[in-house]
């Protein structure tokens, strides 16, 4: 059984069919990429799977359990984590705290224990601080461990989101254009990072416009166009697909 199974998924906004009758399956442990021109419905697909939007139609199964319409904070319990195409960093917090928030579900969140600073809370927070700093090193942000989020450049914030998502220790990680707006050097670093994450056993679902990165990294690729599934397969298969060449690769080369 696939880790994630999407069948006949549809999302309609007013008159816009952002996602139409899309089906695919993601096996555990792979890098699965979703590509397509702007407006193809990639972000909407992510928002449906991660519970931000409720599907108009269709099923989404995680480990065989139907999760369509389940709230995002519930899905986090099942090991789902994600980053956002449009940054969603908490600018009212430090970089390190942003990462620490990622570990929310792994902590004792009791209000009273927190207010009275129970030794167990203080100890766990001290360890978490180290874990978060380690994650920031992993994503190449060691220079920002003491920084406030609102003092960080765009490229650093994109990677901060990845660190936060990793702090949740997810089973499946959704990355929505992690390299968008990054320079070639930073893009290369994100490429290596995604590989590292995948090698550590996390299933990665990736939306990315950088074709070099996508073609190199992906085990499977799903091509969307106007909300519909245009093709699915390995990098080689997708590259050869005439529909894909016509609709997408052709216009972008």
């Amino acid at each position: 059984m696939a880790l994630l199974e999407v069948s006949n998924l549809t999302k309609i906004f007013g008159g816009v069919r952002a996602v139409q009758n899309v089906s695919f399956a993601v096996d555990a442990g792979i890098v699965y990429s979703v590509i397509g021109p702007n407006g193809a419905g990639k972000t909407t697909l992510f928002n449906l799977i991660t519970g931000i939007y409720v599907p108009s139609e269709g099923q989404i199964r995680l480990d065989g359990r139907d999760i369509a319409g389940v709230a995002p904070h519930e899905l986090a319990r099942f090991g789902m984590a994600r980053t956002f195409q449009n940054l969603q960093v908490c600018m009212n917090m430090t970089a390190l705290e942003n990462v620490m928030v990622g570990a929310h579900l792994r902590l004792d969140r009791n209000l009273f224990k927190g207010a009275l600073r129970f030794p167990s809370i203080a100890r766990r927070d001290a360890v978490l601080r180290e874990e978060a700093a380690e994650l920031m090193r992993l994503v190449g942000l060691e220079a920002f461990t003491d920084a406030h989020a609102d003092a960080m450049p765009y490229g650093a914030l994109k990677r901060l989101e990845i660190a936060r998502a990793l702090a949740a220790q997810p089973r499946v990680l959704f990355l929505d254009e992690p390299a968008a707006g990054l320079n070639p050097k930073e893009t290369g670093e994100v490429d290596i990072l995604v590989r590292k994450v995948a090698d550590s056993g996390v299933t990665v679902v990736l939306v990315e416009h950088d074709m070099k990165m996508v073609m190199n990294i992906s085990d499977q690729i799903l091509v969307l166009d106007y909300g519909r599934k245009l093709a699915e397969g390995t990098a080689a298969e997708v590259r050869r697909n005439p529909d894909v060449i016509a609709a997408y690769l052709g216009t972008h080369q």
Binding site: P72, H104, R164
Partner: protein, 309 residues
């Protein structure tokens, strides 16, 4: 580094310890006590507004619930002050919990209007239930007696209220730097980001609303005992605005800002007493000035100026 969080707390403790010996008479001690009580309420409100990012324009309503629970239950029903105080807190907490779900579905202006309405309803009830509350004239409140000890005189009150403030400051500093507090700040920073890491946003908004309502109610009871008299003004709109103003002037999401905001705005009417009826205008002018030149509030602005974040 985690230690430095409490530097301000130690400074405040020292100031509180020496202050009574520097103040010339009980008039100033009384002013100090009212500042400290306000600081406590503002601290609780700042957790809601500044840290969680949820506005409440009806918070004086909860202060009123505590004040009148204390007044009515001790005077008419012979309850002990402690029991009355806890009943008020329970009432405020239950009310806050009941209205939280529908209220926090609203955002921005709508949330402001809904909380404003809630505060007004409470204020109207105490004004109209004259048989119990004395109506617009208010009613007297007996002294605060805990077990066999009766609190009396400004000196005693000062130490008690100082203790409450220091404890509240300590607990608030702990809270905002605990997993609960980080989740609260995160939902303010990005609601959707906090959701996808597992924060049950509705639950957290409810919890902090209830906590700040309960705390406001407890401090309302304390005020009632201290002043020895309650009037419906304690619950009215102007008081709510005053509390929000203290939060904003001191600094949103600033623990120490809450204290500074409360101290300054409690002192201001005294300082402006010479203006004879123009206090409210001066009050508004100062608020406007602060918002234009220090939109982040005093403490965060000064902290940034002196290079500390």
């Amino acid at each position: 580094m985690p230690r430095s969080r409490f530097t301000g707390l130690i400074v405040i403790a020292v100031v509180l310890a020496v202050l009574p010996f520097l103040l010339p008479n009980n008039f100033y001690l009384d002013l100090a006590i009212r500042m400290l009580i306000n600081a406590c309420i503002v601290l609780g409100l700042n957790l809601l507004i500044g840290f969680a990012g949820q506005i409440s324009l009806g918070h004086a309503g909860f202060v009123g619930i505590g004040a009148y629970a204390t007044a009515v239950l001790t005077t008419h029903y012979g309850w002990s002050p402690l029991a009355a105080m806890l009943a008020g807190a329970l009432g405020a907490g239950v009310l806050a919990a009941l209205v939280a779900r529908p209220i926090f579905k609203l955002k921005g202006h709508y949330l402001a209007m809904a909380t404003l309405g809630l505060g007004n309803i409470i204020s109207i009830i105490v004004r109209n239930e004259a048989a119990l509350t004395g109506g617009p004239d208010g009613m007297p409140v007996p002294a605060l007696a805990l077990f066999s000890f009766e609190l009396s005189g400004e000196k005693q009150w000062y130490w008690v209220v100082s203790g409450i403030l220091l404890l509240s400051l300590w607990a608030s500093l702990n809270l905002i730097n605990s997993p609960f507090g980080r989740a609260l700040r995160a939902l303010h920073g990005s609601e959707v980001a906090s959701q996808v890491v597992g924060v049950d946003v509705a639950k957290y908004k409810l919890a902090i609303f209830v906590l700040s309502a309960v705390f406001a109610s407890l401090m309302g009871s304390v005020t009632a005992h201290y002043v020895g008299f309650v009037t419906p003004n304690v619950a009215d709109f102007f008081h709510s605005i005053e509390l929000v103003t203290m939060v904003v002037i001191g600094g949103m999401a600033s623990i120490y800002g809450s204290v500074i905001g409360a101290v300054l705005l409690t002192a201001l009417p005294q300082a402006l007493a010479g203006f004879e009826g123009w206090e409210t205008v001066a009050f508004g002018a100062i608020l406007m000035f602060c918002m234009i030149f220090m939109p982040k509030g005093l403490v965060p602005t000064l902290a940034a100026k002196f290079g500390r974040r």
